[in-house]
């Protein structure tokens, strides 16, 4: 094992250790809740990153899918069904809508794909507003209780955090396995050279379709955590701004990396929830941060930092070589 690999393993162990003990060293339950939010938004961003970063398919309608799963869970619970059934239906509905999305949007790539997903997201947002008998319109749907898997009640803030953390680690592990797999390599191939991939014997459409479903699964999982966290779902969640926000998490952190979307989710959630308490114009600040990222690190925070770090190391080495 070389030093880079062992360094990486050390960093992962430290990160998991810090996250696992977070409720003990973090001051105040408010910040534990912020940490939970970062984690489930990170799952959402990881799901979108499968398409944006690895498939080269930029979706601006993912908040619609997120909303379908959240509404499905809320509606089932409102009807009086149990949590297990509500969760199963929410996951199914999320994947089913993603399949419909994929069939309609995969007729195009590039700008065409963006526009079709945008339109589909807007349709779902419109339905959430107008189909009042199902969604409650502007009033939304309240979720009366949180589930208690294996007897651990998620009503407790720390328990909610830990279950979110476990789900997050499982989702990240799934993504890690996925991107290293032959199928992951095929997906990256369709991003870089779709025509060549077709000529090599790959079914480009089917590869993209299955990648969409995987992205939809992660989106549905994060939507479930979201709806249990806020215990409320309204059309605002499906709005275009939400789709843009999660896309910004992916792009600012670094698309096509596993760490990037997580860092991006952390950045957006912290500015929205923590910094906004001190700065009234937090939207302005978030915008300024994005502009800075685009100018200084167009490839995203994670790949950009790696580049700067390498540059700094090389500079130090050459300077060290000439100094004596």
């Amino acid at each position: 094992m070389n030093s880079a690999t062992s360094g990486r393993i050390f960093a992962i162990v430290v990160a998991i250790g810090a996250l696992a003990t977070l409720p003990y060293w973090m001051q105040g339950i408010y910040y534990v809740n912020v940490a939970s939010q970062i984690l489930f938004y990170a799952i959402f961003a990881l799901g979108l990153n499968i398409l944006v970063g690895y498939g080269g398919l930029v979706s601006l309608g993912h908040a619609g899918l997120f909303g379908v799963s959240a509404y499905a869970a809320g509606y089932m619970l409102q009807l009086g069904y149990g949590h297990s059934l509500a969760i199963a239906v929410a996951l199914f509905m999320g994947m089913a809508s993603m399949a419909v999305y994929a069939v309609l949007s995969l007729r195009a790539t590039g700008i065409g794909f963006i526009m079709i997903t945008l339109a589909l997201g807007e349709i779902l947002w419109g339905l959430a507003y107008r189909w009042i008998s199902l969604t409650g319109g502007d009033n939304g749907i309240s979720v009366p209780s949180r589930p208690a898997p294996f007897g651990f009640s998620m009503s407790d803030i720390n328990t909610f955090y830990y279950i979110t953390l476990i789900t997050f680690i499982a989702s990240l592990a799934l993504c890690w396995v996925f991107v290293r797999s032959p199928f992951g390599a095929a997906l990256r191939g369709t991003r870089d050279q779709p025509r060549r991939m077709n000529a090599l014997g790959y079914h480009v459409w089917a590869i993209r379709f299955w990648a969409c479903l995987f992205s939809g699964l992660l989106t549905a999982v994060s939507a479930l955590l979201f709806v249990y966290y806020t215990q409320f779902i309204s059309p605002q969640t499906l709005a275009l701004t939400s789709s843009a926000e999660v896309l910004l998490m992916v792009i600012s952190g670094g698309p096509g990396t596993l760490l990037g979307p997580i860092i991006g989710a952390g950045l957006v959630v912290i500015v929205k929830n923590v910094v906004s308490a001190f700065i009234e114009r937090w939207n302005f600040l978030l915008g300024a941060i994005f502009v800075a990222i685009v100018i200084l690190m167009p490839e995203g925070l994670v790949p950009g930092s790696v580049r700067l770090w390498r540059l700094a190391m090389r500079w130090r080495r050459t300077k060290g070589g000439t100094a004596p």
Partner: protein, 245 residues
Amino acid sequence: MSALTVTNLCKAFGGLHVTTNVNLNVEPGERRLIIGPNGAGKTTLFNLITGEITPDSGAIKLFGEDITRTPSRRRPHLGMARTYQIITLFPRDSIIHNVSLALLGLSPARWNPITNLRHQGHLIENGLKALERVGLAHIAERPLSQTSYGERRRVEIAMALAQNPKLLLLDEPFAGLSIDERQDVHKCLMAIPRDVTMVMIEHNMDVALAFAERITLLHFGEVIVEGNRAEVVDNPRTREVYLGH
């Protein structure tokens, strides 16, 4: 049975007839050269044979099997491989990753989302074998972005060879190469055994004539001369439209 039979193939883009009643018969093991001036429809003919473009009429048979309506992605599975005139590779990855992708395309493992690609030993092993045939095995792990143009041409050929094709279509494999690089590519092509049938588009007559047994001359989408080396070179039509006087 012929390796490749093209019958009355036609393709028009609007009013522009790029392929007109093309008939082609390539025997197994043959080395066929397709020549013609710019815009003669040579690459279009390749795109029709590989299925990237659908013909308006006519038929294409691969070893007796009618593949006219077979989707282009199925054709590599039937033993057809091609290289591109404009190099079409995966620039962010290593040479061996490029060749592994070619192998993976024909393997059911391409649907596998669980195991690590690097643990698919047979892909790496066969990829290295293909790179050995073009003399690049020693730099297999090098990122493609750090290779020369001539090396990339050879990666193109290695990817096609890795798929173990029965019919290999080469679209200007010598384009843009230096004299030394041309010799390298020429050697790789001459070393390909006779169980592979090869059709090549090429402008560079020195290397192309040494390679080909039969030559087809295309002009404005039509076959105007076909025959062995001497017949085609001596034909007055060839001199008129292609070689010059």
